[in-house]
Amino acid sequence: MSRTDTAVSDADLREVSLTRSEYERICAQLGRAPNRVELGMFGAMWSEHCGYKNSRPLLKLLPTDGKHVLIGAGEENAGAVDIGHGLAVVFKVESHNHPSAVEPFQGAATGVGGIVRDIFTMGARPIALLNSLRFGPLSDARNRYLFNGVVGGISHYGNCVGIPDVGGEVNFASCYAGNPLVNAMCVGIIPQEKLIRARARGAGNTLMLVGAATGRDGIHGASFASLDDPELSHRGVVQVGDPFMEKLLIEACLELGETDYLVGLQDLGAAGLTSSSVEAAHKGESGVDIDVSRVPCREEGMIPYEIMLSESQERMLAIVRRGAEEHVEAIFSRWGLHSTVIGRVTSDGIVRVRNGGEVVAEIPAHLLADAPTYVREGTLPTYLQETHAFQQESLPEPQDYNDVFLKLLASPNIASKECVFRQYDYSVQVNTVQGPGGDAAVLRVKGTPAGLAVTIDGNGQYCYLDPFGGGAIAVAEAARNLACVGAEPLALTNCLNFGNPEKTDVYYQLEGVIRGMVAACAALDVPVVSGNVSLYNETRGQPIYPTPMVGMIGKLESLQQSTTLAFQREGDVIALLGPQTDHCGGSEYVAHILGRVTGQVPSIDLDMEVRVQAVCRQSIRDGRISSAHDCSQGGLAVALAESAIAGGIGFQVDIPGAGRADGLLFGEGQSRIVVSLPEENLAAVRALAADHGVPLTVIGSVQGDAVVLGDTVSVPLASAQRAWQNGVAEALAAAG
C-alpha cells in the first residue's frame, strides 16, 4: 500500500470536503497518513450527509423511544413501528435537493429510488410514497422548469415501481428559487419476525453486489451535498435512474427475504460502496474485505477510488451465508439481475479494500463510522427583530373581501395540487381508501380491519419567523392531519432542510426548530424513528427558510371509523373545535396578498393541541361527525371552502370570535379543526369537548351553493371551486 503521499494540499482536502484539522485527526487516529482512496472514503463518511457532523448533537435531543417502536432512529436504514396483527411499518423520508437543483427530472426520480431502497432493504414491501416539495415562485421560468421536472421525475419513477404516491405537499417561496427542496418518503409493511438488518455478521460470510453496473456517477455526491451552490458543484455527478431495474430489485430482495440465505442487506446510497460496507461492518461489529476488481463496471478504466465512491443507482449489497451464494445468484438471475461476489465478512473490524492482489485501503470501520461532531453556538438572527416588531394593526384592511378570499384560494400555496398528484399512481396495490387531496391519506392493511394514515407536513415560513414555534407546529400539524381522518399517531420521520450550519444564525434556526419538535413530540407522545438532514441549502450565500418536513404514521383500529374533509349533507351543523383568534402574523394571507413574510407566528398551546386532537379523533370513532378538516394555510375561511369544494355543497357561517375580520378569517391560529355533523349528534360532541376542556363553537351549517361568511364574504361555490382548482395551472400559464 502506498504510504507516501503525506503532503496533502488544501485543494486535495477541498475535493473531499475535509478540513485540515479533520485531516490531522484522521492521521492521528490511523497512526499514519491516509492514502487517496482512504482520504476519499473519510471525506464521504465524514460529510454532513453521512456523518451528521453538525447535526448529531442536536438530533440526540429528539425522543426515539415509545411503546410502538420496534426499531428506533439511527439503528437501521429506516425506523419500524408495531401496528398490531404481528405487522411492522417501516418508514423514512429523505432529501434529494441538490441533485434536483441541477437536473430536476432525474434528481427527483433517483430520490424516489433511494428512499424506496431504504425500505425494502429491511425486507418490507413498500406500500406508499409521499413527497414534500418547495420551489421558487412559478412566475420565473427556471422555477417552472424545476417544478415540472421534479413532478415528472417522481411520477416516472414511482409509477413504474408500482408504489402508490398517496400524499405530499408543494409550496412556493422566493428563498427556494436556486435551491428547491425535494423530500421523498416511503412506507413499507412487513411481518415483524421477517425484518432484515443491515449487518455484516459472521466471519467468512459473503458480500454480494447486486443490480446495476457501477459507473462514474455521483462521485462525491455525499460531500457535495454538504456544499452550498449545488449549481456549480453537482454538474458532473448527475445520475439517470432505472426504475425498471429497481422494481426487479424490490421483487428479488423480497423473495430473498423469505429464505434463510441472507445475513443482512444494505442499499447503496450516498457514498456508495464505501458507506454501505462501512455501515454494515460497523453495525455488525465485524470487518469486511472487498475486492473492487470484481465490481462490474459500466465504464472503462475505473480506479478503486471511483468504484468505492460511485453513487450509481439501483445497487444493493447482500451479506449472504457462506455456501448460499449460488442460491442467491439463482434468485437474482431469475429476475434478470446480475449479482457478483465482491468480498467477505472478517472478524478484525477493518474495512479492507483490495484491487486484485493489492490492498488499496485499510481502515478500522469505527473510525470511518464515527465522524467528528461539532457543537456550535447559535446567535439570534437579526431579521427576527424586524419581523417580531410587525404590528398587525398596521395592515390595511381589505376593501373587497370576496376578491381577497378568491385570490387566496388561487394562491399556488393553497390551491389544489391535483395537477401534481394526478400524475402519480395513487391507487395501485389496491389499498388506497383515501388518496391525496385530504388531510392525510388512508390505506387499508389487507387481512386486518385496520387502516394506516400517513401525512407529511412542514411550514418553512413559520420556522423562519419562529424556529421553536415552527418546529413544534410542524409536528403538531402532522398529528392534527392524522386526527382529522380519525387516526392515532404512532411515530414520525423527519427531514431537516436548512442552510449552512456553520453560520451562527442558521445554527440558531436548526437548534430552535429541533427543540420545538422535541417539545411537540413529548406533548403528543410521538417518537422519532427515522430521518435525514440536508444542510447547506443556499444560493449565493442566501439560505432557504429553515424547513423541517415531518412525515407521520397513524393507525385506525377500523377503517369504518374514519372520515374525510368533504361536507356530506345539507343541514349538517358546522362547528369549530379549538380556540379562535384573529392573529394573522406569519400567514399566507400576509405573504400572498401583502407580499410580506413577517409577523409573529401564531403561538401553539401544545396541551390544547393534544386535547383538540383527542376530541376530533374520539368523535370520529364514535361515528358522530360527518367531516373534519384542520385550519392551516389560509385559516378558517380556506378550511371551510376546501370542505365545501370537496363535498360539492356550500355553507353559511357566522364569523366566530372578536377582532378584525381578516385576522379571524385568514389568520392561521393553531389547534383548530372544522367539523360538520348532524344536529342530533351535537350534544354528545359538545359534551365530549367540554370534558376535554376544548372550546366548541357552532358557527353555521352546510347548505346551498354559495360560500357565505357573515356579511363579509359571499361567493358562489363554483367561483371558489374554480379559483382553487385552477390556481396552480394558472400560475404556470400566466407566466407563459
Partner: protein, 83 residues
Amino acid sequence: MTKARIYVTYKSTVLDPQGNAIQTALHHLGFADVESVRMGKYLEVELHTDDTSRAQEEVEAMCQQLLANPVIESYRFDLETVQ
C-alpha cells in the same frame, strides 16, 4: 424552407436504461451480433427560412435552450434546404 434533423443522445458516460433493456430484448430475439444499443431522440424541425447560416444558428440555440439537456445529453444536427 430548411429541414433540420436533430439527434439527441445521452452522453456516453450516462446510464441508458432503455438502451440496455432493448439490447437484452434483441439478444433474446436471437440477434447475437448486437454489441450495444443507445437510445435517443430524433426530431425533424422545419424552418421557414432558406438561409442556412441563420438556420444553423437557430437550431443550435433551440438545442441548447430546449431540445437537449446539456447536463446529461449531447446533440448534433444536419440541415437540408427543401421546397
